[in-house]
Structure formats: structure tokens, C-alpha cells
Symmetry: C2
Subunit: 201 residues, 2 copies
DNA sequence: GCAATTACGCAACACAAGTTTCGTATTCGG
DNA sequence: CCGAATACGAAACTTGTGTTGCGTAATTGC
């Protein structure tokens, strides 16, 4: 079952992704030119399009390979675990936001990737699978804390994670406010402790 | 201090926005062509670019004019008020998501607008001003509830609103999950009541 | 070795966003 | 009425994405 025809040059993938990463982080998404990548990589444009059908796909591939697989830590202290996890997400978001050398509160490359997921069904599906994987890890963490009595029995874990992750994305993508460890701590405190004067009433 | 030269034809703005709205909601952002809008409106392309310097600006203008100014209701029941407010935000998001006739969990036009805000400093600034206005109204609502004793005195109002609005945006833009009134109720319950087994400990 | 299959490079092309140039049309201030 | 300032229309142009056609190279199955 070996593939029939001439095999692809695997060095091309490596070289192209490296060059594209340099361009996108130096000049931003708009500064990433397919023609320039092809020229710098010494390949024809058709060779690029054989691997990544659009510029969006190439950009997603570039960013995807930098995303360290966020491993989750379970120390038994749900508050600390959540803060650590959110800090990893925030770091990834800040990396993407910094791409392009912007200074202001721009969402940078992160905003373009959201649009890419909206434009192409396959990118959207891929992204949702990634988020589902992450979500499952976080839900498992929350579930363990619930079982051992740290969290309420009638907890809505899905909503809790939406609240935490959503607040980070909202600030980066929409309001442009900063996200750092201090914010993650405020966020977890607020979500865990609630807002009512007299809860469970 | 009347402007010097020939005045702009105000009918053009109206006609162009109407045509652009029809195109963007029927065929999505990619199906919005400047050339086609100009042709259908019976004006030259330069006339469009005099008013909206990029396609992104035109798209933002189209969507902005449909956004009903979300008025906030203060019934004295913070839970009900928050649910109502979130439902209005969700309705606006669902409208944008529906644009383009997609079916799947795509973010539709909403994703493109996020990218537009990331690409153009002025659009980003405008958007942040809008969100700041909305945020201020929500914060005032929360503050009143806090003063009358419904909410905790040491509440972090900024984070609370990020949690609520952020979860909605996160689902629409990132995970593609649905947002409706039932979800808004789960969200408010979770945020208000907290997650800890024994809060204030 | 030979046919089928796939990859590659090259060049031309289609298409849309955005720009430039230039001639003409309005409006205001004097 | 005249000149400055701005708007409009038409057309050519630039740039970048993405496509197509074709000749050539590499690999597999036979």
C-alpha cells in the first residue's frame, strides 16, 4: 500500500513552515506573502498550494506547530490547577497577539485565525477538535475536584470552563485588555466563589 | 464653517449600505464584492472608497447599523436582569453567525469582524469604545445590585462581566456551540452561585 | 524496461482589492 | 462672476491569491 507516484520532498514542508513562521511573526498575517515564501524556500508556488490549499491553511499550520500541548497538572488544589491552566492558555494567546510587531491592544494574528476557522469548514472542524480535547482535560480535572468534595455536586462544569476560557479570549479578541497570571487569579476566584451575598439561599 | 466643495450625495450612503447588507447576509463576507456593490448602486468604485477606505470598513458599517442599541433593564432582580442582557448579546451574535447562509457551527460574519478589528486600528478603537459603553452599563447594573445588598461587597465586577460576555463570544467564535436563553440562564446561575462546596471559607 | 501515477517547476491566467489619473460637476467665499 | 475646494465617473493600473496547462522528474507495479 505504498503510495504510487513520485514522493513529496519532506524537506520542503520543514523549510516552508520555518520561513512562513518568520514572516508571520515579523510582519503579521498581512505581511505573509505566498509568493515570497515560495521564492525564499526555492520552490514553485504550485508546490505550496499542493500542501496547503490556502494562505489560511498555511498560517494555521504555522501556529499549530508552535502550540505546546498544554499538559494539565492535578495537584489536588483545584484553584491552583485552574490558574496554572489558564495561564498556559493566556501565554499562547499573548504569543499570537504579539505576532506582527503591533503595540496597541490589537488581537494580532489571533483574530485572523478566528476568521480562518469561520471561512474554511475543515479548519473550523480541526480547531473545534483541538478545543474539545482541551475541554475534555479541563472537565476531567474539574470532575475529579468535584468527586473529592472540593467543588459543588451540582456543578455545571461545561459552563464553568466556558466562563474561564471565554473571559480570556474575550479580552484578547474583543476588548483588547491584557491577560496575565494576576488576571487568571481574579478570574478563578470570581468563578469559584460566586457573586451572591448569600449563596445557596 | 460649511464645507467648501461639492457636497456628498447622501443617497449614495443609504443605497450602498442597503445593497451591501443584502449581499453580505445572502452570500457572506467573501461574497461581498466592492465592484458588484458599486455596479448595483450605480456609482463608481472611487465613490465607495471615498466613504469606506476598505471592504472591512464597509462591512463594519453594514453590521453596525443593524445593532439595536441594547437598552438595559433594571428590575431589581440582578439574576433576571443579567439573563435578559445576555440574551440580547446572544441574539446579536446569532444574527451575525447566520449571515452567509452557513449551516454548520461556523462563526460566519462575526469571525471576519474580529479580524477586521485586528487589522485596522481605527475599527479596533471604534469597537472597543462600543464595548466599553456596553461594559459601563453592565457594570452600573452590577454596582446597583451590589449597593442594595444582592451581590457581595468585595465583588470583582469587571471579571464578572468578562465571564458572562466572554462565555457567549467563546462559544460563538471558538467552539461553535449554540447560545440561547437557556444557556444564558445556566451561565448566570454558575457565575452568581460559584462553584465551591463551602464558599467564604 | 514500461506504463501508470504523482511531484515539481514554469508560465500564463483569472479575479478581487485597492490606487492613480484625469476630466467634469457642484458648491462656497469673495 | 471667479477661483478654490470637494465630489463624481471612467479607465488603467498594481498587487496578491489562487488556478490551469504543460513539460519533466521520480517512484511503484508488472
Amino acid at each position: 500500500m505504498t503510495p504510487r507516484g513520485r514522493p513529496r520532498d519532506t524537506q520542503v514542508d520543514e523549510r516552508v513552515l520555518r520561513i512562513a513562521a518568520a514572516l508571520i511573526f515579523e510582519r503579521g498575517y498581512a505581511g505573509l506573502s505566498i509568493d515570497e515564501v515560495a521564492e525564499q524556500a526555492g520552490v514553485a508556488k504550485t508546490t505550496l498550494y499542493r500542501r496547503w490549499p490556502t494562505k489560511d491553511h498555511l498560517a494555521v499550520a504555522v501556529v499549530a506547530r508552535l502550540q505546546a500541548d498544554d499538559e494539565i497538572t492535578d495537584t489536588g488544589d483545584i484553584r491552583a490547577d485552574l490558574v496554572n491552566y489558564l495561564e498556559k492558555i493566556a501565554a499562547a494567546l499573548n504569543r499570537m497577539r504579539a505576532a506582527g510587531g503591533r503595540e496597541g491592544p490589537s488581537a494580532g494574528v489571533a483574530g485572523e485565525l478566528v476568521a480562518a476557522a469561520a471561512r474554511h469548514e475543515d479548519i473550523g472542524r480541526l480547531a473545534r477538535e483541538q478545543y474539545a480535547r482541551r475541554n475534555a482535560m479541563a472537565l476531567a480535572l474539574i470532575e475529579r475536584a468535584r468527586v473529592r468534595g472540593e467543588l459543588r455536586a451540582d456543578l455545571d462544569a461545561e459552563v464553568l470552563f466556558d466562563q474561564l476560557a471565554g473571559a480570556l479570549y474575550y479580552r484578547v479578541l474583543i476588548t483588547g485588555a491584557p491577560v496575565d497570571r494576576a488576571y487568571a487569579e481574579r478570574l478563578v476566584s470570581s468563578a469559584l466563589e460566586g457573586s451572591l451575598t448569600c449563596p445557596r439561599s
